[in-house]
């Protein structure tokens, strides 16, 4: 964990955002259209020097929150501050202090090479040529793109463009950086290098703050000092990864491997079962069962055997952030993504 200050780097107070649906549009349940609520009264306080994570399924409101904090979108209710400045009334003062990188972005000019594109984006922040050159060189090394510095962006692969985009966020040395799914679609090594750099960057600059959204639970667990879980625009929990996991520790957790092709077993409604999820893998199906009492595992095993399913493995496991997420949201993050 980095050395955190006591000052707020990001603060929101009942921040809300709704969109007006077209008159003829209907809500998902077929009812007449009302406003679509993307963010519903979110209050956050992120301290200076903190690496704060936002976890939530697609459409949870994470990107909406980031767009508001980066002055791109006006809230329809509540207020937000970055580095003590109001994101609506003091947007022009907020902008020199921030930057944002969104995974899967395809920004830049194809006719320019990687170095020229990064130089362009440094110029609009007033970074001098000498400083820009130095930062660009370092960042290209970090993401392993140094050998492509003189390659036109139109000739880069999607992953390489994403790496360039990641560099763009850091070359302006922002006080508060927003990373929206920065490792989305990157290969394992590149994602690992990026995670390592993010940690080093914050360690070198204790007055910098980073707000990260990610789908990858392990990434959030590894990187974040604190996390907020958000769904349907509402914040459901906010704490350190360790404290969040402790919240679900009161329910003993078992992982049961079942041979593939067996009869599906319905155990979610068995007495003593708090929650159950299943994940079909290539070689087996895994049931993850959270119990109200540990002794209920006997009934679960019996139900599986009675359903003529073959148990391959059974083990008690420690809760992960995925389990916290399931506990709070009712389903896995990938279930919605799928």
């Amino acid at each position: 964990m980095g050395s955190m200050g006591t000052a707020s780097a990001i603060r929101t107070e009942n921040l809300s955002r709704s969109y007006r649906r077209p008159k003829k549009a209907k809500a998902a349940d077929g009812s007449p259209a009302g406003d679509l609520i993307a963010l519903d009264g979110v209050s956050l306080d992120i301290r200076e020097g903190e690496l704060f994570g936002l976890l939530g399924p697609n459409g949870a409101g994470k990107t909406t929150l980031i767009k508001i904090l980066t002055t791109l979108l006006a809230p329809t209710g509540g207020r937000g501050w970055v580095d003590g400045l109001d994101v609506v009334t003091q947007a022009k003062l907020v902008r020199p202090r921030i930057n944002m990188v969104s995974g899967g972005e395809s920004c830049g000019y194809g006719v320019l090479n990687v170095r020229e594109n990064l130089w362009l984006f440094a110029q609009i922040y007033g970074v001098s040529n000498a400083v820009a050159r130095e930062r660009i060189d370092r960042m290209l090394d970090v993401v392993g793109l140094a050998d492509k510095a003189s390659t036109k962006v139109s000739h880069l692969s999607t992953g390489q463009r994403q790496k360039m985009n990641f560099c763009r966020g850091f070359i302006t040395d922002p006080k508060v950086l927003f990373l929206d799914e920065p490792t989305l679609g990157l290969d394992v090594n590149a994602a690992r290098a990026i995670r390592k750099f993010v940690r080093e960057w914050l360690a070198e600059r204790p007055d910098r703050t980073l707000l990260l959204t990610t789908h990858y639970m392990s990434e959030a667990d590894e990187l974040c000092d604190r996390l907020a879980i958000i769904d349907h625009g509402k914040m459901l929990a906010c704490d350190t990864p360790g404290a969040l996991k402790k919240q679900v520790q009161e329910h003993p957790l078992f992982e049961i491997g079942i041979a593939p092709g067996e009869v599906p077993v319905k155990i979610a409604h068995l007495p003593g079962v708090h929650q159950a999820t299943e994940h079909a893998g290539p070689t087996s199906m895994t049931l993850k069962v959270s119990l109200s009492e540990e002794s209920a595992i006997g009934q679960v095993v019996q139900a599986i055997v009675e359903a003529k399913a073959r148990i391959l493995s059974l083990k008690k496991v420690e809760p992960t952030l995925e389990d916290v997420f399931i506990e709070l949201v009712g389903h896995g993050i990938e279930d919605v993504a799928k």
Binding site: R95, V111, G126
Partner: protein, 269 residues
């Protein structure tokens, strides 16, 4: 203040850079941006020659051909540009950055002017050599001054278009098409403006090309224009101020509206 000016200039030069460098990296522009326009200029020139029209009419057509390049650049590369910037994801980066959007627009204009100046010079040079057009500028300084004022007003209009077109989204494409051809007629791109009815020519004065080309023709070929050169120069200066001020107002309004309605973050609409 010094920092604000420095940031404005850095942003402007940075945004102009892709346009200027693109000309060097994509040399195929010579074919479709210079050689093809010369063919259409040649067609008009031969018609005038066949009709035994005064020789300066051929010069009008060559000048019109060169200025057409600026008009097309203003419509396609200025007017529609912010719309494309949004589609490519660059717009939200520009808006989120401390560099002003007016500097971004000024950079687009500067890049467009430099790029199109080279194209227009090729058209003018080849046209003059091909048709041996006699031109005798009465005043080089006045000629350069009027030309620069025309560009300033024209690109000021382009900056205004950029803001408006962003607001209209996908319809921008149709609006650009709608503006393209009628302007060739209204501004007297290939014929003397005096031929048009006074009311039509006066109404067309809102387009900087009208007064600009009429003044340039007077200064280059010593012919009588629709208005005296000094009136046209004043008109161009007034239009420059008007369009740039309107562009700034519209941009600020658009930014507020887009942020309120969430339009800046929608890539395609």
């Amino acid at each position: 203040m010094k920092n604000a000016i420095s940031l404005f200039l850095r942003t402007m030069i940075a945004r102009a850079y892709p346009r200027i460098i693109g000309m060097r990296r994509q040399p195929s522009w010579v074919i479709h941006e210079a050689i093809l326009p010369i063919l259409s200029v040649a067609a008009f020139a031969y018609v005038y020659r066949a009709m035994k029209a005064p020789e300066e009419y051929v010069g009008f057509v060559i000048l019109g051909g060169a200025m057409t390049a600026f008009w097309l650049n203003v419509l396609w590369s200025m007017g529609a540009q912010l719309y494309w910037e949004r589609s490519s994801g660059n717009l939200e980066i520009y808006i989120m950055a401390p560099g002003s959007m007016m500097a971004v627009l000024a950079g687009m204009a500067l890049g467009g002017m430099v790029l199109t100046f080279v194209r227009a010079s090729v058209i003018m040079g080849v046209g003059i050599l091909m048709f041996q057009v006699p031109f005798a500028p009465t005043s080089w300084s006045l000629l350069i001054g009027v030309f620069l004022l025309t560009l300033l007003a024209l690109y000021g209009l382009g900056m205004m278009f950029a803001s408006v077109f962003l607001l209209w989204g996908r319809e921008a494409w149709h609006i650009v098409n709608l503006l393209q051809e009628p302007v060739f007629l209204m501004t007297g791109m290939n014929f003397p403006l005096k031929i048009l009815p006074t009311a039509v020519a006066s109404a067309a004065a809102i387009i900087p090309l009208t007064a600009g080309m009429d003044a340039l023709r007077q200064l280059l070929f010593g012919v009588e224009g629709f208005w005296p050169v000094w009136i046209e120069a004043l008109l161009l200066a007034g239009l420059s101020v008007l369009f740039i001020a309107l562009a700034a107002r519209l941009l600020a309004y658009l930014e507020r509206l887009a942020s309120k309605e969430g339009r800046l973050t929608v890539k395609w609409q």
